[in-house]
Amino acid sequence: MSLAKQESIFLEKKIGRKPTNTEFQIVAAEWSEHCSYKSSKKHLKMLPMTGHNIISEKGLDSGVIDVGDNYVVTVHIESHNHPSAVEPYGGAATGVGGVIRDILSAGTRPIAILDGLRFGNIEKDPFAIWLFKNAVSGIADYGNCIGIPTIGGEIEFDECYTNYALVDVAAIGFGKKDRLIKNNAKKGDLVVLIGGPTGRDGIGGSQFASDSLESEDRSAVQIPDPFIEKLIIEAILEARNQKCIKAMKDLGGGGLSCAISETADSLSIGIELDVNQIHTRESDMNPDEIMISESQERMLIITDKNKLKKLQEICKKFSIICSVIGKVKDDKLMRVKKNNQTLASIPTNIVANAPLLDRPSSEPNYLKKLPKRIQLKEVSNLSNVLLKMLGNPNIASKIWAYSQYDHEVGIRTVIKPGLDASVLRLDNGKFLSVKIDGNPKHCYVNPRQGAIGCFEEAIRNVVCTGATPIGMVDHLQFGNPENPEIFWTFLESLKGLTDFAKFFKIPCVGGKVSFYNETPKGPIKPTPVIGVLGIIDKEPSHPQKIDRGNILIIVGNTNDELGGSEYIEYIHGIIGGTCPQVDFKTSKKNMTAVLESIKKGYVKCAHDCSKGGIVIAISELCMMNNIGCNISLEKISAKHLESDRILFSETHSRYLLVIDKKDLKKIKKVFTENNVSYGMIGNFGGNQILFKKGSKSIINLRIDKALSKWEKSLEELVIHG
């Protein structure tokens, strides 16, 4: 529990006296990087955050998008990295729980979870396997129990996460616009804490998360209880229907300190609470521990006096404890009492607004040392290389993980996990398409272009389902921001995302910054994870079964962009090179043409090209449809590149479209009108993945062999590793 020296001085100056011990603890929790965003807040303002369909209300913990017909979609993303690195099961599970409650605080029902998981190299490191296995179990046990489908996500392994874990969780909510909780409160309203008891778990968690991970402070990790979470969800939605909730906030990082100060500050009220009224797990907890405990499954509610009885009845029905812990005042103070003794009395605007920092930044040295042009050794047998790549844990099917997640409950999941974005049906006849993407290898080589690439990849995935992107969420994960070189990578990524969001007019509806992702071995690679939401007014593009004779088209050019690619690292052991760059205009043109072709019904199946390049994307189509293909390399629009560079380059803005012969003319017209570059590169049939250069076959791999490698690699690593 600490404040920097200048922060202590600032605090004393602001309040005009020495803080009490309780005040000090409250402020230290709230001014942690995790809660205050003190390093990033000034810069995050550059992101576009408004749009005609974006609803912003004070005190909301999630982004709210109007999807018409009096319905809204809410979205939020968070990570639980430090806890998951120490205790992966509990860390990942409580990560799910926390973000779900952010969705709930808006008064919307959580309808889907996505998670992005990153660990060390599981082919070499048994500890990474242990972290991975247990994080997956934690997510499965929590999400399945609360009955919210885990519909997608991503899993990646990289040496930079050795002895560490990134667990990002995004959640989607859905509800009626007129039932959104529009946070407000007036003098005399009651402050109620509902849910699980406050215990000693998660004490100082937000500060634990605001430092490099050097010790395994297990007491800072919260304990999950999905059953209580499920009861809270149902009780709160019923209380919402009965209009018992005037304002609401989830207890997350910083516990009560954060929830009380932020709520009071955003509503311009004062809150007085009595720690003796808080239900605790242990009887001998001191007030400071109670104020900063991060015990899970708790919600703070402000209710009208006249509604208290109703709220208590609802909580009783669901067997959840509901304690009136304080009342709303008009003095804008946060006052903590124990019986008649005042332990803290401090202006909420001081607690909730940490002094912001202007961190210095400078271009990292490592970037200057990375090779720009890469020389690759000639590979003799590309079929073997492809097979090896299909078994690369970053490329291999993630079915081992997502088959443990209930992705069907709620019966909204119209397009299920496994291909591009997942699609949920909404109650107004529209569909919501969602995907999250990250790419630390690209971001390491070029933090700005890499971040833009993640954003574009998520857009491509959503577009492949026929959806128009309407909003994005970003989760920016970096090492220690006090290091100017790391701060530079953060700023670069943020600038890239801002430029792209502005160009595409896609507002950022929520996000999170996570710093201090470091282990004794050093910082992680820059890991922004971008989530994109798209809306489909009519039917989504269900991937149709590919038949013999169907034609494969690629939209977009393939450039010599192997920097940070899976191929050069996994096969050649090289880190560096030029990472793929998104040309904004081409990106938009290609997206427009693909969307138009899908909406007009010309496309049987669309798939984006990303990690592993075109050869992996085509193989995936073949394996999932159990059909071979015959591809001519020279028909892929690429400037005189060696075969392996064409096959494995990770150039953005590329889409694979499978079409029926009869639609060829029509789709060509769409491409010509939109002036996009494309190539008819082959057709489907047989049982081989076949790539030819002229008449010479350069890849010839049987589907069943490819499929077994791709589908089983991850499971075998986990089970036998």
Partner: protein, 226 residues
């Protein structure tokens, strides 16, 4: 037609079941909280899936001691059609209304995947519109889904036609690939897969009709009883 959907703390497929009954099959269904008395005029009862009591102690065992279960038992005795899906099946087994026990899947993990059922008894209130040995594409989503009984009980189940559904493939190690069973009188049926997740073409593009016949069988049964 009045169908009761029983809701336990932790049920999470209740809303899906409610939607399918009311909106897809136009069967009037209402929720009944586990502490409530059941009205006499119910034509059928459904125990939906989920994690009642967070699967604590053992899946379904605490819910099997809920106040509502004594009414369910009475109605079972009176021949009212009762269906338990997934956790609902586990509860019926724990309540002693159906034989056998549900153990952890062979994979030791939660499994969410599509599979196929084979109809083995088409004389129950929930299968009378299905053909014998008809196949049903349907998803499973459970961790304790492996049906187990000893050999002696298995023979008596076979003899009494109490095996209602079997998996077409080996899915989780269930005895005799059993996916669903009924009581001797065949009015109480339980199965691990989720028919409510398979009756709409949007969710089940492969073939939603066989699963729909489970609900249409119920309509035929209680429509005829009225």
């Amino acid at each position: 037609m009045n169908v009761g959907v029983i809701v336990f703390p932790g049920s999470n497929c209740d809303r899906d079941m409610f939607h399918v009954l009311n909106d897809i099959f136009k069967i009037k269904a209402d929720y009944f909280w586990h502490e409530k008395k059941l009205p006499k005029n119910l034509d059928a009862i459904i125990l939906p899936g989920g994690f009642s009591y967070g699967d604590r102690l053992r899946a379904g065992v605490i819910a099997a001691h809920s106040p509502v279960i004594s009414d369910v038992k009475k109605m079972a005795k009176d021949g009212i059609p009762i269906l338990g899906v997934c956790n609902g099946f586990q509860i019926l087994v724990e309540a002693g209304l159906l034989p056998g026990v549900l153990l952890k899947n062979n994979s030791l993990s939660f499994m969410c995947k599509w599979t196929r059922l084979i109809v083995e008894n088409n004389k129950t209130p929930f299968t009378n519109k299905l053909k014998l040995h008809q196949k049903i594409p349907i998803p499973i989503a459970n961790r304790e889904g492996r049906y187990y009984i000893d050999n002696k009980t298995l023979s008596s189940l076979k003899k009494n036609h109490q095996i209602v559904f079997r998996y077409s493939d080996i899915v989780n190690g269930s005895t005799f690939r059993i996916a669903g069973v009924c009581n001797k009188e065949s009015n109480v049926v339980g199965l691990m897969p989720h028919p409510e997740r398979a009756t709409e073409p949007a969710i089940n593009p492969s073939d939603h009709k066989p699963s729909s016949l489970i609900f249409e069988s119920l309509i035929q049964t209680i429509g005829a009883a009225q």
